[in-house]
Structures are given as structure tokens and as C-alpha cells.
Symmetry: C2
Subunit: 320 residues, 2 copies
């Protein structure tokens, strides 16, 4: 049973996916479904003994093509539609105990190319409105498979938060002729206090308007909307920026930092590609929870100042 249901008060689609309740939950290392198949009597999701990076459709998908049939409701505020779309799993490496931060630069460069390839394929499919590449890392985020992997959701609609972002960026562009990201990055670079790292192609920073204490955004300096417009030099620089950010987060408190990593991209003139890391810790020992103000009203409370957390991340660089 899987379908999309419209929330008429919050103006957003919820995915109902009852088969996911039984998805694999912290399997023992020997039974990891994302490891290579080493014993043909015990096949994993990946039917090979060796691989570099593997991509396949999620066995417990929230969205799939073709979707199960739904009984459509008759009125204009109780709406249902099929949960069409694609959910893919991207396994970064055969090494069960690795993390993104520990991969070689060459491996992350290859991962960026895999993402570009998957983005190009999925965004071109009929009925797909938005392609979201992301990684949930760590049990604090609810991850139930520790093998290093990311995911890709190809939604049949523009998600609610993305719609807000696109609308903001479109309006700013119409008003000024410039990308909102351009004007914001100019402000950040002139101020300088929240910049964490910088290369020829990319800038990494804790934004002025950070909602999470150690939130990191990575943006290209040029107005590049998606991975598709990135050449090899740019993709390699992106790989290094992502690796640098993940390594800084690990170095910050001396443990492997959980996070939600999101790639935001959409093929328009007014939007700019962005990678966002949301780590759930507000101190070394305390988590940031989304409670009443955040979950009920959409008002985040940040107990830190980006002007104070950015220098900590600037200093948190592991020795090479």
C-alpha cells in the first residue's frame, strides 16, 4: 500500500508507504544487504564480489514506477494520487565500515560523476518533477543500515520546501536580474566571518541565517544550476569541497559526525546548485531536537551564532 495524500492545511504531499515498516533494521554486519555478495548462498542487494560504486532501486521504495493503483477521492481538498517516482540507493564503497569522509578523493570524484549520471537520467524521465540526491548518516538521524550509502528520490511533484526555495529565487531574479545566491554570497564574502573554506570553484560556509549550529553550505562561485553544467575540473573541485566539509565535521568533536547531506539543484537560470550538511549536534554531547517551535510552527531556534561556529569549523581540519 503506497500512495500520496494531500495535506490541505499544510499544502504538502505525504507519502504513505506501509511496506517500509518492515524494512531492514540494523542487520548484523554479516548480513549487510549493501556489502558485495561474497557467498552465493547469501546474496546481498549487489550480485557481485567486487564493485566500485553501486546504484540500484530501493527494495523498500517510497515511490516507484509503475505505482500501485489508488482510489481517487472525489473532492478538491482530500486528494490522493499514485506514488509514482523512483527511489535509488547509491552504495559508495564495498567497505562496510567506511564513511564518506574517509573515502579517497578519487572515489568522491567518481561519486560526483555517478550523481551527475543519475541526475541526467532521472530528471529527463516523464512525470519526474524533482530529483533529490541525499545521504542520511548516523543512528541519530534514524539510519538503519550503517554501510556507507546515499539515496536519490525522484519525486512526481515539486516538494513543498523546494517550492518555497524556487519561489524565493525566482522572485529575487525577476526583481534584480541576479541570482539570490549571487547576492547572498557577495554579502557573505564581504563579511567573511562565516566562511569556512574556499577554492577556485566553491565556497563553504555557515550561513548568516543558519538554523542548525554546525550547518554547512557549499556553493559554486559561478551561477551553475545543476551537476549537468559542471565540467571535469568543477566536479573534481566539488568532490574536494564535499570531502573537506565531511572531514571538518568529523574533526570538530572527534567523532564521526552524523548528518543529513542534501544536493539542491534545479535546471533554471535563477537557481544555484548547493550542497547542505545538517549535523544534529549543538555541542559535543547535546543533540539539537526539532520540538514545538520547529515542528509545530516552523520557527527554528539556534542556540549558537554562525559567527562563532564557523571559526570552529575553520579550525577543525584533520592533518592530511
Amino acid at each position: 500500500m503506497s500512495e500520496l495524500r494531500w495535506h490541505p492545511f499544510l499544502q504538502e504531499w505525504t507519502i504513505t508507504a506501509t511496506h517500509r515498516q518492515d524494512r531492514t533494521f540494523f542487520p548484523p554486519d554479516d548480513f549487510c544487504p549493501l556489502c558485495p555478495t561474497r557467498d552465493s548462498n547469501q546474496p546481498t542487494e549487489i550480485p557481485r564480489a567486487h564493485f566500485d560504486i553501486a546504484v540500484f532501486e530501493n527494495r523498500f521504495p517510497s515511490l516507484c514506477t509503475p505505482p500501485p493503483a489508488v482510489e481517487l477521492e472525489p473532492n478538491d481538498f482530500v486528494m490522493t494520487r499514485p506514488s509514482s517516482g523512483v527511489c535509488e540507493v547509491v552504495v559508495y564503497t564495498p567497505e562496510h565500515h567506511a564513511t564518506l569522509a574517509g573515502l579517497s578523493p578519487r572515489k568522491v570524484e567518481a561519486l560526483c560523476r555517478v550523481w551527475k549520471d543519475r541526475y541526467a537520467d532521472l530528471i529527463s524521465r516523464d512525470g519526474i518533477e524533482y530529483v533529490y540526491i541525499f545521504e542520511n548518516k548516523g543512528k541519530e538521524i534514524g539510519v538503519t543500515l550503517s554501510h556507507p550509502h546515499g539515496q536519490i528520490y525522484a519525486y512526481p511533484f515539486i516538494p513543498r520546501t523546494i517550492q518555497t526555495r524556487l519561489e524565493s529565487e525566482r522572485m529575487h531574479f525577476e526583481k534584480t536580474g541576479r541570482q539570490l545566491a549571487h547576492d547572498w554570497l557577495n554579502f557573505e564574502m564581504q563579511d567573511g566571518r562565516r566562511i569556512v573554506a574556499e577554492s577556485e570553484h566553491f565556497i563553504t560556509l555557515v550561513p548568516y541565517f543558519a538554523r542548525y549550529p554546525y550547518e554547512l553550505h557549499i556553493l559554486p562561485k559561478q551561477p551553475i544550476p545543476t551537476l549537468l553544467q559542471m565540467n571535469d575540473a568543477c566536479l573534481d573541485a566539488l568532490a574536494r569541497a564535499i570531502l573537506d566539509a565531511a572531514q571538518r565535521l568529523d574533526a570538530l568533536f572527534g567523532f564521526s559526525m552524523p548528518y543529513i547531506m542534501s544536493l539542491f539543484q534545479h535546471p533554471t537560470d535563477f537557481t544555484r546548485f548547493e550542497v547542505e550538511f545538517l549535523p544534529p549536534y549543538r555541542t559535543k554531547h547535546k543533540l539539537k531536537y526539532l520540538a514545538g517551535s520547529e515542528a509545530g510552527c516552523g520557527v527554528f531556534i539556534n542556540d549558537t551564532l554562525p559567527e562563532n561556529t564557523a571559526p570552529q569549523l575553520r579550525g577543525a581540519k584533520p592533518s592530511p
Copy 2:
């Protein structure tokens, strides 16, 4: 240091409140700041040996009046404003180990009157745009003081999620002349499968569009926008409905259920008062986490069907 910063992409205010980083964190029972003051050498937040229900301003407020001064930024996308407003704490009882679900009906009836009184006072103050009464319960939600209490935030702006709700309700009212809540409740009552409890005045249900598996909404059957329009009979019925919902959530899995409880209300014709319980469990042993799809894109994935969870809550009634 406390101020509001505008997120120009997400169109929402974030509260920066650095003094909150040091707020009281799981004090031992003997040092609970919400207990009555029993020893004058060790005063708590409540300078009395006895009380029924206590309300006072939060010692670590996100919003306060007058707010600290801010340096206003000069452009139209990087905006800052003072964090004016009020944050109150509502201590339900002097009993340190009680919970809302375990209070007497008479006590919850009194609590509803305290809420009504605080709402009337705060919503009438200059500069207050929205008054949000809520309770965060349980360490799973990040609560650091276990003594039973709720909170009230009086915001100097309409929070982003509330703005969406108000807009949906306003548009439906303009189009149909009826409240969105009216049409939705009619649909729910005709269908019947998701109704959990019902009295002369209130209805309790898992909505058709539930984002959380055991999400409960309590609405008045009449088009009542806020506590201020409720007479004594209605307030008493509300108290019983809230107590019933909290007790069902405790009975569901046999442990004291954590939750975010929100009172949504706004003084307009087109909105209806609502109490919402968001419990974070998706099974007895598994939490529902907000990960990539939810936190990054605003798309919730519900692993259950409201048609299946509502009957569980209907059956989860403790013996009186």
C-alpha cells in the same frame, strides 16, 4: 545575544538565542527548578511551598520584551530584527513525577482555563502576532526538564507553518463560504474509519493526511477559532478530550508516550481551534525520524495507514 534572522531561501525567521546553550540540562530530582520551593536556601523558579498551576516567564527565553538591541543589516534579503515576544512556562502540578495523562480531570479543566487566560493576555499585547501554546514531552523530543510543564511562545510575527495553514484556510473559506476544517471533518465523519473518540463538543481523530503514524487531532465540532470563544461546558469537554488522547497514547504501547502537543488557534472566522499530538514512535520500539525527505524537502513518509493506526488508538483506552 538574541535576534531574529531572515532565511531568504526558506522565507522564515530563525531565532538566534545563544544564552540558551547553557540552559538547565537534566538536573537531579532534588534540584528541579519547576518544583515548589521547599527550602528557602534552595529556591526554585516558584517561590512557594504550595501551588496548583504556576505560570512564569522562561529564564532562558528565545523571545523577550524588551528584546536586546540588534544591528540592522542594510539590504532586503539579509534581514535582522529584535527577538521581541514572550516565552512562558506553565507548570501543570507540584508533583515532580506526574504527567498530563495522569492529572485529574479537574486539574486539566483548570489548565484549560489558565491557557485561556494566558492566551487572552498575550494575544492582546502590542507587537504580538501569534500565540502558540504547546508541550514538549519526553527525552526523545529533547526535553531536559522532566517535571510536567508546557510552554507558551508569543511571537512577533506569524510563523511560517502557521502562515501556510492560515492561507489554506482563508482561501477555502473565500471559495466555499465554509471552514476548511468543517469540510474536512464532514469527510472524516462520513468515512468514520479514522475517528478515535467523540463527545458532544469535540472529535478526536488520526487525519486522512497524517504525517506521523499516531498523530492525533482534536477539533471542536462547532466553528470555534480560539479558547476565548469557549464557554465552561466547552472548556471542560476540551479538558476531557485532551486527557483522553494523552491516556490513549500511554495505553497504546504500555509506556508513557513522548509527544509534541500543539494548540493551534487564531482569532479569525475561517480558522478552527485544534489540538495536535505528534508522538515520535512508529512502532513500540522504533522512532520516526525526520531525515532527508522530511528535513530537506518537506515531504513526510508515513510507514502506516491512518485507517490502521486509528483503530489501535480507539482500542487503547485504559480502564477508568
